[in-house]
Point group: C2
Chain length 739, copies 2
């Protein structure tokens, strides 16, 4: 999309792109405002590398990095660009990565990003392509990417020009880099990243890179900015705290703030391409990644190849009807679900093992960036439906992590366990994947792994408080966020029970099925809400159920309050209905969540709430109404078109499902609940290896803004608002008639 010309391009786009150009419906600017935390940079599907404009340094900007945990390299409203970063996270809630920054400038060398930054214009972003003009230098910059290499093309005017590689600046709060000019066309080095969420600072690690330039530098050098000394040294050092330039330097430069410049004197306007290969294993692998993925191919070829990959993946779902904006919202969301989990292994299969970072080798893709507290809810079920081959490798990666570290992942990032958020969500994903029919992984290992985290009472990094959880049946305020955590453990225990049942392990099935409903002990019938308990079993008091909204800290819950958590028992909705005294009180209480403004579209605990009216006969229209309203209100074809952090695609997966008319209501149970589709027709090409290989069509008939009157599957009437995954993956037509 050309920035500011989105509408125009969309109109043009229809004609140009034709029916098969799904990628033309991707607007990478969606989510770049309103803390969506996406970026418009060029990236290949599940790429290790993306090349993103970096505009979050400098007080000229509306939002600076770290302000309010700002966790993206790019903010739409900002105006001051200080380079292009090569490893970036998309849609996360804490700053990390955003390093290996390239910046083209003209004129005299300036190495301070606050001094060399520029405003920009003519911004354009598409699948595998990003372009922007740097106003101050009159340099047009274009980017594309392969899985492990970022490719930049700078169109310089005649005269003195510079390309800066800044290893001091970054979104991460880690520092430390090593860089070496290998030749006038090559740089190699590494940069420390890590400490995601300002947490577990011991889990920092290096990212390695090699940068290859199409034009040899006329002059090159490195710079280094030492920290300011005080004391006796300070009086002798004229360069104390000042940046120092080392011209022609060819050895490693080490430190917290270092960089390299390549300078040119162009007699005429000249294009220079810079390719940056990346690896989390070694510089040698970064070089091999770069060579294997880009050698002998032009920028145009690489960009086209990237776009083709996106197009192929996006084409697995074809939507018809709906506005151009709806299509853009849909395909951009799908694009966002295809970024993380992302690729960790190099071309040669090598990757750093979990925790030890020992170099290991994988056959398939070793994935990373598992934000499982978010993604277990809908992203992994969506991957199981649309890209089961990828989901299979994701599950295998999770089991490798277990092999390597002894534990399943929780919030894994580049082979470190950040232990962000609560719960023990991996088991839910494993069961859910298996029960949806993706079974080409070692299910007995998966079962063993999930039992381990469920049953280890001491020194359990995944389940703090597990001892109390099993002895009491629930957590008390002796542990952090006891209600939320009990609920999360319950959902996982439900998943374990489901797998135990599938595997014929009756004793475990009974044990975990029983434990999975222990949240019931925390139900306060008077409040009709969950409520924290003291260690002696009494209710925590005084107690304000509304406390904890908007991420405020509170005693019982993590990132939420009693309203936002009480219904997060999708594995036991009928149990909750009973606790509340029947369907009517349940539906009334659920309605209050929305009426009293407690529903938070931007946070995971309550994102299934809109679908829960489906559990109450006669109230199902409320789900359809609510989902449609939320999609319209929070998901837009504009930079603020996400309700908040995309949460590595969780919000995107939510809107994809919601617009298709099905939702995986209870992760771990291979079932969807239904809602009114927002397209006339959705055609999913089912994978032939895992499923039928046929097409699944979801067809909407009748009044597009109406409510479901009848549901048929391949012409046969379908009762109720739930449908098994198994039935859908045989292919066929799921028709919903609205009136």
């Amino acid at each position: 999309m050309i920035r500011g010309l989105g509408l125009l391009l969309l109109i043009c786009g229809v004609g140009i792109a034709g029916a098969q150009e799904f990628s033309s419906y991707v607007n990478p600017f969606i989510g770049t405002s309103n803390y969506g935390a996406t970026n418009p940079g060029a990236i290949a599907p599940r790429g290790m590398v993306s090349v993103s404009p970096f505009n979050v340094a400098g007080k000229q900007n509306v939002l600076e990095k770290d302000a309010g945990w700002l966790s993206n390299p790019y903010v739409y409203e900002n105006t001051f660009l200080t380079g292009f970063s090569h490893v970036n996270l998309s849609g996360v809630g804490c700053p990390d990565l955003g390093v290996i920054l390239l910046m083209p400038t003209t004129g005299d060398l300036e190495t301070n990003h606050l001094a060399y930054g520029s405003t920009y214009s003519d911004e354009e972003a598409a699948t595998g392509y990003y372009r922007v003009k740097l106003d101050r230098y009159d340099v047009e910059t274009e980017m594309t990417a392969t899985t492990r290499t970022g490719i930049s093309r700078y169109s310089f005017p005649a005269g003195k020009s510079n390309i800066l590689l800044n290893l001091g600046l970054g979104l991460t709060n880690e520092s430390g880099a090593s860089v070496k000019v290998v030749s006038p066309t090559e740089i190699e080095g590494m940069r420390t990243v890590g400490s995601f969420c300002y947490y577990k600072p011991e889990e920092s690690y290096p990212v390695y890179f090699v940068a290859e330039f199409s034009h040899p530098a006329d002059e090159f050098g490195v710079w280094k900015t030492p920290h300011r000394y005080s004391g006796p040294e300070a009086q002798w050092m004229p360069y104390n705290g000042k940046t120092r330039i080392m011209k022609g330097y060819r050895k490693e430069v080490l430190g917290d703030s270092v960089g390299v410049y390549f300078s040119y004197g162009f007699e005429q306007p000249t294009q220079v391409e810079v390719k940056v290969g990346v690896s989390y294993v070694s510089i040698a692998n970064a070089r091999e990644n770069l060579r294997k993925e880009t050698s002998g191919r032009t920028f145009e070829e690489l960009s086209k190849s990237n776009n083709d990959q996106w197009n192929e993946l996006l084409s697995r779902v074809k939507v018809e009807g709906g506005s151009e904006d709806d299509k853009t919202i849909f395909y951009t969301a799908l694009y966002h679900t295809l970024i993380h989990p992302s690729t960790l292994n190099d071309c040669n299969g090598e990757y750093p093992a979990m925790a030890t970072r020992e170099t290991l080798k994988t056959e398939g893709t070793r994935f990373t960036v598992f934000s499982l507290w978010d993604t277990y809810r809908n992203l992994h079920p969506l991957m199981s439906l649309l890209y089961p081959d990828q989901q299979s490798d994701m599950v295998k990666s999770m089991l490798n992590i277990y092999d390597e570290s002894g534990w399943l992942p929780k919030w894994e990032l580049n082979a470190t366990e950040t232990t962000t958020m609560v719960g023990d969500p991996a088991g839910i994903v494993l069961t859910d994947t298996y029960l949806r029919g993706i079974q080409d992984f070692d299910v007995m290992k998966a079962y063993e792994a999930m039992k381990k985290s469920a049953e280890a009472l001491e020194d359990n990094p995944l389940r703090p408080g597990n001892s109390e959880y099993w002895s009491n049946g629930y957590l008390t305020i002796a542990n952090a966020g006891p209600v939320s955590t009990t609920q999360e453990y319950n959902i996982t225990d439900h998943a374990i029970a489901m797998l135990a049942k599938e595997l014929g392990d009756q004793p475990k099935y009974e044990k975990f099925a029983k434990q999975s409903i222990s949240y019931r002990n925390l139900y306060d019938a008077q409040l009709q809400l969950l409520r924290p308990k003291n260690p002696d079993g009494s209710w925590y008091a005084p107690y304000d159920p509304a406390a904890g909204a908007n991420f405020a800290k509170n005693v019982g819950f993590i990132e939420g309050n009693a309203w936002q958590y009480t219904f997060m028992v999708t594995h036991d909705v009928h149990g909750l209905i009973d606790l509340m005294g029947g369907e009517k009180p349940f539906a009334d209480q659920l309605q209050r969540v929305f009426d009293e403004g407690q529903f938070d579209m931007a946070n995971e605990p309550d994102i299934a709430y809109p679908f829960l009216f489906n559990y109450v006969k006669g109230e199902e229209w409320k789900s359809q109404q609510r989902v449609r309203q939320l999609v319209r209100e929070y998901f837009k074809n504009s930079p603020d078109g996400l309700p908040g952090n995309d949460d590595t695609g969780t919000m995107s997966a939510w809107v994809i499902y919601s617009m298709m008319g099905i939702y995986p209501i209870s992760p771990g149970d291979p079932v969807y609940t239904l809602t009114a589709p927002m397209f006339d027709r959705v055609t999913i090409t089912l994978d032939g290896d895992y499923y039928s290989g046929k097409e699944l069509v979801i067809e909407r008939t009748g009044n597009p803004e109406g409510y479901i009157r009848e549901v048929t599957l391949d012409g046969a009437s379908h009762e109720g608002y739930f449908i098994d995954h198994e039935k859908l993956v045989n292919g066929g037509v799921l028709q919903m008639e609205l009136e």
Copy 2:
């Protein structure tokens, strides 16, 4: 020497060591106080590596690093030891290196050197061996070294112990390191050093190392101390500015302050050896250096081999008579002249080229640490006399530097040109070496190189102000230290003239001989002193000739004043005598320098003064008296036994010559002046490749405290107080009879 027991050991030493144990007369503590800037660490002759105790961090110490440019890792009076550094400079005037610090501790891990430091006792130092007990940990530590590897042996008590490798701390003011645990017995990494004299900060560079441990660590990890962030980041980082431990970490850790710990749980008292191989080229070379120099050899074998090397070199001069202290002063001085210039190349011959740091290969030894403003005066002539093979490689190294960078060295340090001090001294060394008979180097290249620096009028890094120097004949206050600098350039021009004459280049001989006495223009007949001139040729006024003593800055001179510089025209003493109006006024004025307290034993410009009475017939006894008095006053067998900075052996060379009774009075002229020897007999074994291979004996007869009555060479009477180098290197007996 055992610290505090020096005298006792000396008495014992006589019996133990026997006549051939020259190394037993080395007291490495000499120069470790009074800013001598030596250290007592273990080092092989001209070693790249030394392992020195590091006790200059922490306010507990009398002198902290950088206080008054404190430039050594160890100060005798200090008491708080924070490790052992592996690359160190000896006897220099600015802090650098002093990095790759190992420290053994016991008990819980502590990574802050100010917290883990310890007092110490039972200190002992000898050639190739240093030992000390760390009081706090009850750990005995011992060190030895090969040319490129430091070997430490720690005797731990039973219990929890740690070995720390601290890459944050250092004497250098550079920062930045990379380190990686390769295995539980090996660490590799690099550390940035440079910016010698807080100058030319662009000339920082990495030193590479590999550390091999005899015992695998039971536990290991790295630590990293980030600098303190301010601004938005700061509020989220609980670890802001705090040291963070990464247990079991196996990837590179990068940053300004990083380190590694190896921890052990010993069931019984255990010795652990750590070998640290070093290279200025690469980690691979550091590893190869370590393996080649130490594999399969025990600590005892390595220590003995080191001592044997010292013994062999020291045995080239045998002194008899004189006190035990005199012998210790003498051999320790000789030891100090055999430290720098030191080895730059790796075992495989590779070394970093001057300036570019490109990897090149040498056949012989590539030397580094050329403090030529100091060493041209006496150290290189001494090396030419005693170790002409080494001096030959030093000269070849200087010519390689010219090939690599286009310029001869001035103050070269590890392939960087620090451009410290004034003048263009390399040509003096080249001529002096050639005229003393060491001619197996490319003299035409040397001649070309010295002419280049003498004649390049612009962009001349060695001779600032050269244009004015040639147009005026001298420098004016338009340039820094114009009188000193004119004198230095004059001495070099004299050397060039001497080489031109030798090579038969009459025009250049005339040109440079004429220019070499241009200092005469700066002679103020009224003051009988040199004096700076204004650019218009008038005297600089008002003028205080005494200003500039004790290193105070002044207009005319660098590190000195008119008194300390006026006689520094040893190539033209007869000219100066004429200027002063004859021998009497010359001798009177020279006497005034001493009488009025202007003579500075600790600085180079006036160190030849005591010998200048030899130019006045009848006054020669004053030289003998003065030299003897200065040796007694300033050179002692005690930590404060050097007058100040050893200046990479220049002060030591001065005392060696002075005690032998000969002095290379005019560098560039292969001649010695005579003074009363301080031993009964000095026997020099002359090199067979460059000289006669015979022995040169300098024999003192008569009253040891008397003055020279008669000089004979091989029995024939020798007229006057000067003797040609050529006559001495044929061997024979130079007898001086004192009365």
